[in-house]
């Protein structure tokens, strides 16, 4: 029987300090019994001699000096897993809240996991068709990638993530898949939207859900994504499933991190976030990927709301440095009534190059993608000039690019929330749009593809007129 300590000496914010402790170790989990009898959990942040600094997940309200009982468990935070974990709903600390009994664990796993050996990784190269043109065509998602959605408050990131979860599939393959959903500090409605969506698409029984809602303990959010990803690793690398992990909202996670850092009186980094936030976020995001010789994979879609839509804010900034690209939602496009409001220019998928092309999507994909980006960028730039100077200030060619940019937004980016386009359809829309542009301006496309694909869309005479 482990000793219970009643030697709590200090309570400040989410932290307590316990003295005269024997054999406490770093990161160890503790059970705390409040004076009213309620049980809480905590984790050791620092041990200094016989003093242990503990963060309390459920908060410290109601704790006092003298009556609070602290017991050290001698292990890190763990979660019990077994194949029957699929279809279950847990709270942010891994306790079931769906009314069903505790699962009987096959094994217990430490939620901090271990880093994947870089040598053991397999490069993600399998194209995932999400049915959304601006992702499939221009910012292609591949299996094992971590691709966050950079959103803002009020933007439809939940709809987009749910649509991806619903439609995502690997072409020509029927494989075991699962969804892990970890919610940190989001509203009940938003969480409910996801769960309803999983239920309707029949994915619920293949999902594992961890919910820490807005009203739940803030510090618990530090653990929630780690519970989710530990289960994801189990499903992917031990049961051979393809796991899609949705983590929302990372902004709330980072704020919890800041709260602890402030309570510890650490030297703050930018905007008060701790200097180690990059490393901390990396221990979450890097738990995506594939491993050589294993069938399963973890594809991660974290969602974060950028404060004031500012991508240089530390949260999106550090995230972008770790993840393999980002899907960027734009308030301007949203206000124009465009769904999905993906701004393709700052969006990026770093792994697309190995996932597209002949045998994966289509031979012309890479060229079309580069050309669409370049043309849209030029069109947008010219469109800004038009608003300042009027159309007369532009050359004929530039005006064509302005028209192209408008059409691109309306026909390529815009699509229905239930609309599921194949990659062929996406590329064909791309070619149709490119046919608006004089052929000598299509510098990013190799001549053989122009001959093969563009001819379908060129109306007779336009080529001659343009050149």
């Amino acid at each position: 029987m482990a000793k219970e300590y009643i030697t709590t000496r200090q309570i400040a914010g989410p932290l307590i300090i316990v003295e005269h402790v024997e054999k406490a170790t770093y990161n160890e989990i503790v059970d705390i019994k409040a004076p009213d009898g309620s049980l809480r959990r905590g984790q050791i942040l620092e041990v200094n001699g016989d003093r242990a600094l503990i963060q309390v997940f459920e908060g410290t309200s109601g704790l006092n000096l003298g009556e609070t009982k602290v017991r050290f468990e001698g292990r890190g935070i763990e979660i019990g897993v077994s194949p029957s974990i699929l279809g279950r709903i847990f709270d942010g600390s891994g306790r079931p809240i769906d009314g069903a009994p505790q699962i009987i664990p096959e094994k217990r796993l430490d939620i901090n996991g271990n880093p994947i050996n870089p040598y053991a990784r397999d490069y993600p190269a399998e194209f995932i068709q999400t049915g959304i043109s601006s992702i499939d065509g221009l910012n292609t998602l591949v299996r094992g990638q971590k691709l966050p959605i950079f959103s803002g408050s009020g933007l439809p990131h939940a709809e987009l993530a749910a649509q991806i979860a619903r439609q995502a599939k690997v072409l020509g393959a029927e494989e075991k898949f699962a969804v892990v959903f970890a919610a940190m500090g989001i509203t009940f409605e938003e969480a409910n939207y996801f769960i309803q969506n999983f239920r309707e698409s029949g994915a619920l029984e293949r999902s594992v859900i961890f919910l820490n809602l807005g009203g739940d303990p803030v510090i618990e959010r530090i653990a929630t994504p780690r519970f989710g990803l530990t289960v994801a690793e189990y499903l992917a690398f031990e049961l051979g499933m393809h796991v899609l992990a949705i983590l929302t909202d990372m902004t709330n996670y980072c704020e919890a991190l800041r709260e602890i850092s402030a309570a510890r009186k650490e030297v703050p980094g930018r905007r008060g976030y701790p200097g180690y936030m990059y490393t901390d976020l990396a221990t979450i995001y890097e738990r995506a990927g594939r491993i050589k010789g294993k069938t399963g994979s973890i594809t991660q879609i974290p969602i974060l709301t950028m404060p004031e839509d500012d991508k240089t804010h530390p949260i999106p900034d550090l995230t972008g440095y770790i993840t393999e690209g980002q899907i960027f939602l734009s308030r301007t496009l949203f206000q124009q009534g465009l769904y999905p409001p993906i701004d393709v220019l700052p969006s990026l998928s770093r792994l697309k190059d190995k996932g597209i092309g002949k045998g994966k999507t289509r031979e012309d994909h890479s060229d079309v993608l580069n050309q669409l980006f370049a043309a849209y960028a030029r069109g947008r730039e010219s469109r800004e000039l038009v608003t300042v100077l009027g159309e007369s200030a532009l050359t004929k060619t530039d005006l064509i690019f302005v028209r192209f940019a408008d059409e691109f937004e309306n026909r390529f980016v815009r699509q229905g929330i239930e609309e599921n386009r194949t990659i062929e359809q996406t590329l064909d829309v791309g070619w149709e749009l490119l046919s608006m542009i004089p052929v000598e301006e299509l510098k990013r496309i190799r001549p053989q593809f122009i001959d093969k694909y563009l001819s379908k869309y060129i109306k007779k005479g336009t080529v001659q007129n343009a050149s």
């Binding site: 770093y26 880093p115 870089p118 030297v267 703050p268 580069n370 510098k443 990013r444 050149s467």
Partner: protein
């Protein structure tokens, strides 16, 4: 033998404080706790030593022992480095995976160099020869690309008493004995060197040879010399890593050391899967046969990240000492600086700018100063070079970041990546008006010889057109394009052509990924020729629209797809340009 040990009193993340370690020295290696985690002493205060631990400290607590080793953090140097992948403290990741599985677990140790492998040994000195530190005593075939020289350790000098005959030996075998003033010393195929101490050289000399990278914007506009230093700062998504990968693929260095410091795991995988497949353009051998990888990804322990750049540069210096030209890529030095910041914070040091320690800039410059073109130790005069290219990831792309500023003060080439270029998929997104290279003058002779006498003029002209373009665009933004003179319009068109047909280069297109110096010269000449003839014809009365719509411009834009060994095809395009303008002029004459 009982190990000397002290006791842990405090654990705070990667920082452990221990008391009463006997004879604790700064930067001494220690083993922490019963799990024997790697650590390094970074502060000594009375009987307390602060230790940065290279592995996760979960489950470690006060009262556990800390064992001292008496030696500083060192790397093993010897045959078998090439083609390996190590973590930040030189643990072989491939061996760890084979023995312990797909995840990196704590407290594991495997020797960095394979103890069982046989190496073919060729002595090049004789018994009785007098040798000094830095002299070569033998060659080992490490890979078909690399002859590994066995070097007399610096500081040692004496007469060879024994040298092993040609044959196969393992790294721990004694292959020579040298009689020195301090007695007889045994030499094995490998030795150890502390990572924080630069390997000595006779002297440094100014770099004067181009490090050819095959990247047009770099070789032609912002070159780096062999033995030079460069930095690539840029916001995320601007293509730092692709630039680094391109350089490690195509740079004409003999040895490439790639340090993935606090970056993505999949990027290392990319290198690991691609390099064995890619062929060195000069030798036709797989690129992996000249590469050493150090991978300490962002989720691996932060203290080992701090060590990883030193591990990398020490290995780089070792190959430099064999007379090779070595290039080291560090991606990204910001993560290294952040690791320093984290340790400094936990030591409760007084923070400088942005929470970074006050010694940030001096650490950065002492790292880059290990680069250079040098005269090696040893009796013969031998030259070699070590070039260092560091990526920097400033928060929000803000160049006032202390790491960027500290780096810019020491490096001589600055490739400024720009995210608006990246959004328009202009890659490499090196912004020409902000970047600079201080090697242009010292390389002028080299350029004249390798590219053509008129090259320097061509480049100066191109740069001035690009500069003019940005002025003209300001004007267009204010008053519209109609107000520009036809000659200015041609400047805009030429500038666009330089940007799109020359500076832009697709790393993922086989025809475009590497451009030889000769081809760069021919491409630039085409654009220059068109520009000259365009201005000339305008002055003779040709209409601007007729020039802009010349079909030969498509040929210029496709010139980048011409293979490096079919440069005669440029003659035809030049001819076509000349013909097109002759025709235009005739039309004017005939009314």
């Amino acid at each position: 033998m009982k190990e000397k040990s002290g006791l842990i009193v405090k654990v705070s993340g990667p920082l452990v404080v221990a008391e009463n370690i006997p004879g604790a020295k700064m930067y001494e290696m220690v083993y922490v706790g019963t799990k024997r985690l790697f650590g390094e002493i970074i502060e000594v205060k009375k009987n307390l030593s602060s230790i940065q631990v290279y592995e996760d400290t979960s489950g470690i607590g006060p009262g556990e022992p800390v064992y001292s080793t008496g030696t500083a953090l060192s790397v093993e140097l010897g045959p078998g480095l090439i083609g390996s992948i190590y973590d930040g403290i030189q643990r072989p990741l491939d061996v760890l995976m084979a023995k312990y599985g797909d995840f990196v677990v704590r407290g594991l140790f495997e020797p960095p160099l394979d103890r069982t492998k046989n190496w073919l040994f060729n002595p090049i000195v004789n018994k009785g020869d007098f040798l000094k530190g830095g002299d070569f005593i033998a060659e080992v075939d490490e890979t078909p690309l690399v002859k590994h020289k066995i070097i007399v350790p610096s500081g040692m000098e004496g007469t060879i008493l024994m040298i092993a005959s040609q044959g196969e030996y393992k790294v721990e075998d004694v292959i020579a004995k040298i009689e020195t003033k301090n007695g007889i010393q045994d030499l094995t195929l490998f030795h150890k060197w502390p990572v924080r101490i630069p390997r000595p050289v006779k002297r440094r000399v100014p770099p004067d040879e181009l490090l050819v990278t095959g990247q047009r914007v770099i070789d032609s506009f912002f070159p780096i010399a062999k033995g030079g230093t460069a930095c690539v700062p840029g916001p995320f998504g601007s293509g730092k890593t692709v630039v680094q990968h391109q350089l490690s693929k195509w740079a004409n260095a003999d040895i490439i050391i790639f340090v993935g410091c606090g970056e993505r795991g999949n990027e290392m995988t990319d290198v690991l899967m691609e390099f064995p497949e890619l062929k060195d353009p000069r030798t036709g051998r797989p690129l992996m046969e000249r590469t050493v990888l150090i991978a300490n990804t962002s989720n691996m322990p932060v203290a080992a990240r701090e060590a990883s750049v030193f591990t990398g540069i020490t290995i780089a210096e070792y190959y430099r000492d064999m007379g090779y030209s070595v290039a080291l890529m560090a991606d990204s030095t910001s993560r290294w600086a952040e690791a320093m910041r984290e340790m400094s914070g936990r030591l409760e040091e007084m923070p400088g700018e942005e929470g970074y320690p006050a010694y940030l800039a001096s650490r950065i410059s002492s790292f880059y100063e290990r680069a250079g073109k040098v005269v090696l130790m040893g009796r013969e005069k031998k030259e070699a070079s070590l070039s260092v290219i560091g990526a920097v990831s400033p928060p929000g792309g803000d160049l006032s970041d202390p790491v960027v500023q500290g780096t810019l003060r020491t490096v001589r080439v600055f490739w400024s990546l720009d995210d608006s270029l990246a959004y328009a998929r202009h890659f490499p997104a090196i912004y020409w008006l902000k970047s600079y290279s201080l090697y242009l003058d010292s390389l002028a002779e080299f350029y004249k010889e390798k590219m053509g006498k008129d090259w320097v003029d061509l480049r100066v002209k191109a740069m001035s057109i690009l500069r003019k373009e940005s002025e003209l665009q300001e004007m267009v933004r204010l008053v519209g394009i109609d107000t520009l003179s036809p000659n200015d319009r041609v400047v805009l068109e030429t500038a666009r052509s330089i940007r799109e047909d020359f500076l832009q280069q697709n790393a993922f297109m086989a025809e475009d990924t590497f451009t030889s110096l000769k081809k760069q010269y021919r491409m630039m000449k085409l654009i220059g020729l068109f520009d000259r003839r365009a201005h000339d014809s305008l002055n003779k009365g040709v209409e601007l629209d007729n020039i802009i719509s010349l079909p030969v411009r498509v040929e210029i834009s496709r010139a980048k797809l011409i293979p490096n060994d079919e440069l005669e095809r440029f003659d035809k395009i030049e001819e076509d340009i000349n013909k097109s303008f002759v025709n235009l002029l005739e039309e004017v004459k005939n009314g």
